[in-house]
């Protein structure tokens, strides 16, 4: 569970830093009058997304921990990574970069660029999902079926969990696109575009970690994590 504990420690550090700025040393029984706090400028939806991402981060951290614990058993037999995962990674990277571009275009009130950005991101993300399905199909064809070896099971499970979150993101992206075309006004969708961009960065970061783990490059890092607690 070291991976998960590291994640929780990081969350704890951020939460601790935030709490340290919240007057936790105050003596409320001695204070009367209005205490004005710093204006709340961050949109609610953005904070909501941030809290959601912490929960999702926990989900992936725990999945990785389970993976790391199981792979120490002697019957673990890593499966070959389909080459297709490389272009898939590039597609997700492209979506993330393009959405960041769309967000910047929204800051410039450039609705045309926002539209192009959303379309490109939607297309490349869809291609990523199709690519992941193809990678599954290739592995299945090559005999690496779901129940064949724990390594296979974990591969399908973790990529599946990630894929489901990508699909969820696509629903949000589709809604944003619908509203963009309907209103033709940057003001109506600026925040949504930014939220999509943040969510895609999260999906990309999670995917890069998963990719490194599943291909075995992160084996040393995992070993280091395990030794931290033993």
């Amino acid at each position: 569970m070291t991976g998960a504990l590291l994640f929780f420690a990081a969350v704890g550090v951020v939460a601790g830093w935030w709490m340290s700025r919240q007057r936790l040393m105050a003596k409320p029984w001695l204070e009367q009058g209005v205490i004005d706090e710093a204006p709340r400028t961050v949109p609610l939806a953005k904070i909501g997304l941030g809290v959601l991402l912490v929960g999702l981060g926990s989900l992936f951290a725990l999945s990785i921990s389970a993976y790391s614990m199981r792979m120490q058993f002697s019957d673990w037999s890593s499966l070959p990574m389909p080459a297709l995962l490389w272009p898939n990674t590039a597609l997700l990277l492209l979506s993330s970069v393009v959405l960041q571009g769309a967000k910047r275009a929204a800051d410039r009130w450039d609705i045309q660029s926002v539209k192009i950005g959303l379309l490109t991101a939607g297309g490349s993300t869809l291609a990523f999902v199709v690519g992941q399905f193809l990678a599954w199909w290739q592995l299945d064809e090559a005999g690496y079926v779901l129940a064949g070896n724990p390594a296979n099971s974990f591969f399908y499970l973790i990529t599946g969990l990630h894929g489901l979150h990508v699909l969820g993101g696509l629903v949000a992206l589709a809604r944003t696109m619908y509203r963009t075309w309907l209103s033709d006004d940057v003001r109506a969708v600026r925040l949504s575009v930014e939220l999509c961009a943040i969510y895609w960065h999260f999906l990309l970061a999670v995917w890069l970690i998963l990719f490194a783990l599943l291909t075995g490059w992160a084996a040393d890092a995992l070993e280091l994590c395990r030794q931290l607690l033993s």
Partner: protein
């Protein structure tokens, strides 16, 4: 008292208002409602309904244990199904849902001075997804083979193997229901956390929030982090059951034949389950801690002793509860050094917990104690929680836990500490806030009868279980056979416990009657019948309408515990009552 200068915003009561959804029909007002208060009542009623089902299940279990063989329809399989459903329903679908979905929804916006939760639509979805989870769970009673009988911990491999009741449909429905519950909870949890972070009224700093809000807030954060562990575990077990993977399933032989599974690790599930399971104890306990602090302060007319320390203790308990999970696994063959580590962290939790207990007692010290029903329940909680907590110190130590593991001692411990204690708080809280929800008081005589039967009865049920456990009577056995070595007194004790359980259970139906009767015939209450200082009692109307506060949201000038302040006109000062300096300035303003 320190005078805090008024901020640049002056004294205007207007803060940026949120846009409220206004229902247009009966259905959008009471069924697919987006008002947190209606959602709270929906959550509470469904959770209470599930609680009554779980209560009846426990009756059936006790009938079997007290009078083995008399009730022929309760065979071993049926008994396992009863304990499994009772446990899971009570822990997840009753306690978690009531504290967070019920009290969280009702109290957070009112106590922090908000008009509603920050994401009302998501809040509505949260309830309906929870309701779907309950339906799926209850459906397993009617599925072929009945509900799962794997024990509430659902340990593999037995949970999904032949021989365990409900291994065909029951376990699948249980796992799907848990997954759906977690999705629903995440929607609610987001609301509770973000509303506390961003929805507070002007002047309501974090350190002015009532401890109830602190408890629910911290528990919600913990749940958002811990429930994913159960989610992952449930998904993996579902894969094992339906798709033939072996995440948790080792190589197994049945009737001389090797099963399709191989190489999985049952321990992996235990780690995931308890990584959720232990924080879950505090997800239930922290809101109870917060609520009981407020009940004691109001009904003893005393400011809460050590407010700051209470807040820090809540945070410390929340953080520590993530590094104790393996104390549920001492008998799993773990490295002794791990056992030592987890025993140490477990015992450290006793420190912030003890701080809270001391502070409650010191709040009572020289207080003007009114022994009304809510206060009786709050006091009973303290005693019961201390009792359950002390046996927790026993079980937290590896050498004591190993012989007591899987005995009735464990059943007694966790029922005292996370069954009876939080339920007492729930009752106290319902008696306390019912007048705010309905505008009428619950009947006090019925309430006191309910209290004494429940409180004394709970001890009659669970105290003897400690002795049974020390004798070595195992938990989860559907009967103690005559050939075993237990003395006759153990059997007599079981009969006694069963009779007590039947009486205590019946008293709960009296409580349900009180809830319904008082709704129409209860004594009418004004907006603040207890003379409480916190914000929810200061609404212009009772019950508070949609939007809570009328034209202006309140401004907060003080903490929630100004009781018996020297020189004050009344024995409490509401949080939104301006100090004299501010009143004078308002008098001079144009």
């Amino acid at each position: 008292m320190t005078e805090i200068p008024l901020g640049p915003g002056g004294m205007s009561a207007d803060v940026e208002d949120v846009e409220l959804y206004h229902p247009h029909s009966w259905i959008t007002k009471y069924v697919f409602a987006q008002d947190a208060k209606v959602i709270a009542i929906q959550y509470s009623l469904v959770a209470l309904g599930v609680g009554l089902i779980a209560l009846v299940l426990s009756w059936l279990m006790r009938l079997q244990l007290g009078f083995p063989g008399v009730f022929e329809f309760i065979d071993a399989d049926r008994y396992y199904q009863l304990i499994t459903m009772h446990g899971m329903m009570m822990v997840v679908y009753v306690l978690t849902a009531l504290f967070l979905g019920g009290f969280g929804n009702y109290l957070i916006p009112l106590m922090v001075g908000a008009r509603d939760m920050v994401f009302p639509y998501v809040n509505m979805l949260s309830f309906w997804v929870y309701f779907l989870a309950v339906l799926i769970l209850v459906a397993s009673f009617f599925a072929p083979g009945g509900p799962t009988g794997a024990g509430w911990t659902l340990y593999p491999p037995q949970a999904i193997l032949a021989g365990t009741p409900g291994q065909e449909w029951g376990i699948v429905l249980m796992l799907v229901s848990l997954i759906v519950f977690i999705i629903g909870f995440t929607m609610g949890g987001l609301n509770y956390v973000v509303t506390v972070l961003q929805g507070r009224a002007r002047g309501m700093t974090l350190m002015r929030m009532p401890l109830t809000v602190w408890g629910i807030f911290t528990a919600s954060v913990m749940a958002l982090l811990a429930f994913p562990a159960l989610f992952v575990g449930a998904v993996m077990m579902l894969f094992d059951k339906l798709l033939g993977t072996s995440f948790f399933m080792p190589t197994l032989y049945s009737m001389g034949e090797q099963l399709k599974y191989g190489g999985g690790s049952p321990l992996l599930f235990q780690h995931l389950f308890w990584f959720f399971g232990h924080p879950e104890v505090y997800i239930v306990a922290l809101p109870a801690f917060g609520i009981v602090s407020d009940l004691i302060s109001v009904h003893a007319r005393r400011n809460i002793f050590g407010y700051r320390m209470m807040v820090w203790a809540i945070i410390a308990i929340g953080a520590l509860s993530f590094v104790v999970w393996a104390h549920h696994m001492y008998v799993s063959g773990m490295n002794p050094y791990f056992g030592f580590f987890f025993a140490t962290t477990t015992l450290i939790i006793a420190i912030p917990t003890a701080i809270k207990v001391y502070n409650w007692v010191l709040t009572l010290w020289r207080g003007d104690i009114h022994l009304r029903t809510p206060m009786l329940f709050a006091l009973a909680f303290i005693v019961t929680f201390v009792n359950g907590g002390l046996t927790g110190l026993f079980l937290g130590n590896v050498v004591v836990d190993v012989p007591l593991s899987d005995t009735m001692f464990v059943v007694a411990h966790f029922h005292m500490v996370m069954g009876v204690a939080p339920i007492l708080v729930i009752f106290g809280a319902i008696y306390h806030w019912y007048p705010k929800v309905t505008g009428r008081l619950l009947d006090e005589t019925l309430g006191k009868i309910h209290f004494w039967i429940t409180f004394l009865g709970a001890y009659a049920i669970f105290f003897p279980m400690h002795y049974l456990g020390l004798m070595g009577v195992p938990r989860r056995y559907h009967e103690m056979l005559e050939s075993t070595t237990y003395p006759a007194s153990a059997h007599q004790l079981n009969i006694f416990i069963t009779i007590a359980a039947l009486i205590v259970g019946a008293a709960q139906f009296m409580f349900v009657f009180n809830l319904a009767w008082s709704l129409f015939r209860g004594r009418e209450a004004d907006g603040n019948p207890w003379g409480a200082a916190s914000l929810e009692w200061q609404t212009p109307e009772t019950p508070p309408p949609h939007g809570n506060w009328g034209p202006h949201v309140p401004v907060v000038y003080r903490w929630a515990y100004d009781y018996n302040v020297p020189g004050a006109a009344r024995d409490f000062i509401p949080q939104n009552e301006p100090p004299p300096a501010v009143v004078a300035m308002q008098g001079h303003s144009p």
